[in-house]
Amino acid sequence: MPTCTDPSPRSVVEALRGDRGTRPRADLTSASGLRLILEDGIFALLHNVLPATPIVLRASSLRQLGPSTDISESAHARVRGILVNHVLRLLSVGAAITDPFEDALRAWRLEVESGELLDFVERLQADDLARLATDVTAHSVTLMRSLGPVNHYWLPRSAMRATQMLCGGSVILRDVIDLMVGTTVGEFASVALFDVTTSPLGEGAERALRYHALVQTLRSGVVPLRTSCFSTATAEMWSLDVDGELLTRSADEVLCALANITSHA
């Protein structure tokens, strides 16, 4: 018997936006509850003794819980990730990319001017530089083929930073969302968060997805529609619709990561 399924989306952007008719009403009330869960949890964790310097949590703190040797944290992998992210930034404004490595490197140089990772690139031997260029180009081509055209009426913005201070600044949640579309102003939820990684997707990526949704909810007070992650290593995309359960789970994961950090300190 033939089975009818929903057709797969043709591009990443199409999957991000989804069906307009099925969007839920914008949830403007969950943010305060989540903040309360986090504040109470942090005070219980810290036993009411506030740290001298703030504890900073990032999406990477949730990707990798506890100490480990991860090859995705090597300088080469980090530079590759940064450059592929710059390719996404250029694509988000409809730029025509002829040489992904050169274009991304130029854009990155303009942005940071100096730094440890930029020095790493400057010091690379010709063959290592060529290897990096090939790597970045391969990942970028996967991204460019899968992304699809980004309609400018969806208000795409890239590398969106967010900071949330909890417990009077004792804990700081930091986040950067690679690409965000949709608006927080409106009757229906429309904000979609998009993260690009050059590593294969795993459990850590899923936690990071939830973390993006949590920080965005705390920052704007509006629950986003969905949070997605695309791996340029496997051309695989994970997308989760954001709801109260997902956000509460992320708050628990943040508290777990904090417990991990404070127990190692």
Binding site: V93, A162, T183
Partner: protein, 266 residues
């Protein structure tokens, strides 16, 4: 005494801040003369430029200005916002038009060295795309804030500048959005990052400079600083106490930076 209102950056809170703003006071010529005398009393080697940033940094000399995507985004983003108000176009389109205008200005010989147009003209296509991405981020953020406002709003035509008479001192206050009404205006300033400990005094000096730059000396009913990245707002009311405190912060900054200059010279 100054009271700073600290709120979450949501449309409801913002509208409440705008709605409940008290009526702003006015500065007289006596006030202006008194401020000028105070600035004249602080010696200066050259022309002094003060703004909220110098107040927040306690008069620390800033490193030389140069254009980067981060420094260009506000100018281009606010220009794009003005276009979006005039024509019904998206933020990305408005930013593209704004950049094209800048490049045209340079090509036609109207741009001077060091200007944004001049800098943009020397950049590659991918670099301009990154500048465009930054400016689009800014324009969308400001547009989202403006769209949440219940009352009529407008993009500020320019920053507020005030030249203190015979004191070789220029004051500058940044402003991004204005909510005009018959009782007076509410001014919004959008900022990157999170508010630091000195964000309040910075905001208060913005309020004072904005009032001084007004031809009638009418203070905004409220000056609101919005930090979209941190999701918070801080506001200060246009009362005489706050204006006085803002003026004191500015004079103190002038004194501290002059003291630093003299220490360095000694």
């Amino acid at each position: 005494m100054t009271t700073f209102n600290f709120r979450r950056n949501t449309a409801r809170e913002l509208n409440e801040l705008v709605r409940d703003a008290p009526v702003g006071v006015s500065l007289t010529d006596d006030h202006r003369r008194s401020l000028s005398a105070r600035f004249r009393a602080v010696s200066s080697a050259g022309r002094r430029r003060l703004d909220a940033w110098s107040v927040e940094q306690a008069g620390q000399p800033s490193s030389g200005f140069h254009w980067t995507p981060a420094t260009a985004r506000r100018l281009l983003g606010n220009g794009a916002m003005r276009r979006m108000v005039r024509q019904s176009i998206s933020p990305s389109e408005a930013v593209s038009d704004e950049i094209e205008d800048q490049l045209l200005r340079c090509a036609s010989g109207y741009a001077r060295a060091g200007s944004l147009a001049y800098w943009l003209a020397s950049r590659s296509a991918s670099e301009i795309a990154l500048v465009s991405a930054e400016a689009t981020n800014w324009a969308v953020q400001v547009h989202e804030i403006a769209q949440g406002l219940e009352r009529e709003w407008r993009v500020a035509a320019s920053d507020a500048f005030y030249d203190v008479a015979s004191a070789r001192t220029s004051l500058r206050a940044r402003r991004d959005l204005e909510v005009p009404s018959v009782e007076g205006r509410v001014v919004l300033r959008v900022r990157s990052g999170s508010p630091g400990k000195s964000a309040g005094p910075g905001l208060r000096s913005d309020l004072t400079i904005d009032t001084l730059a007004d031809p009638q000396g009418v203070a905004p009913r409220r000056f609101i600083g919005v930090w979209p990245e941190a999701g918070v707002m801080l506001s200060v009311d246009g009362t005489m106490d706050d204006l006085r405190a803002g003026a004191r912060d500015l004079v103190r900054t002038a004194v501290v930076s002059e003291r630093r200059r003299l220490q360095k010279a000694a």
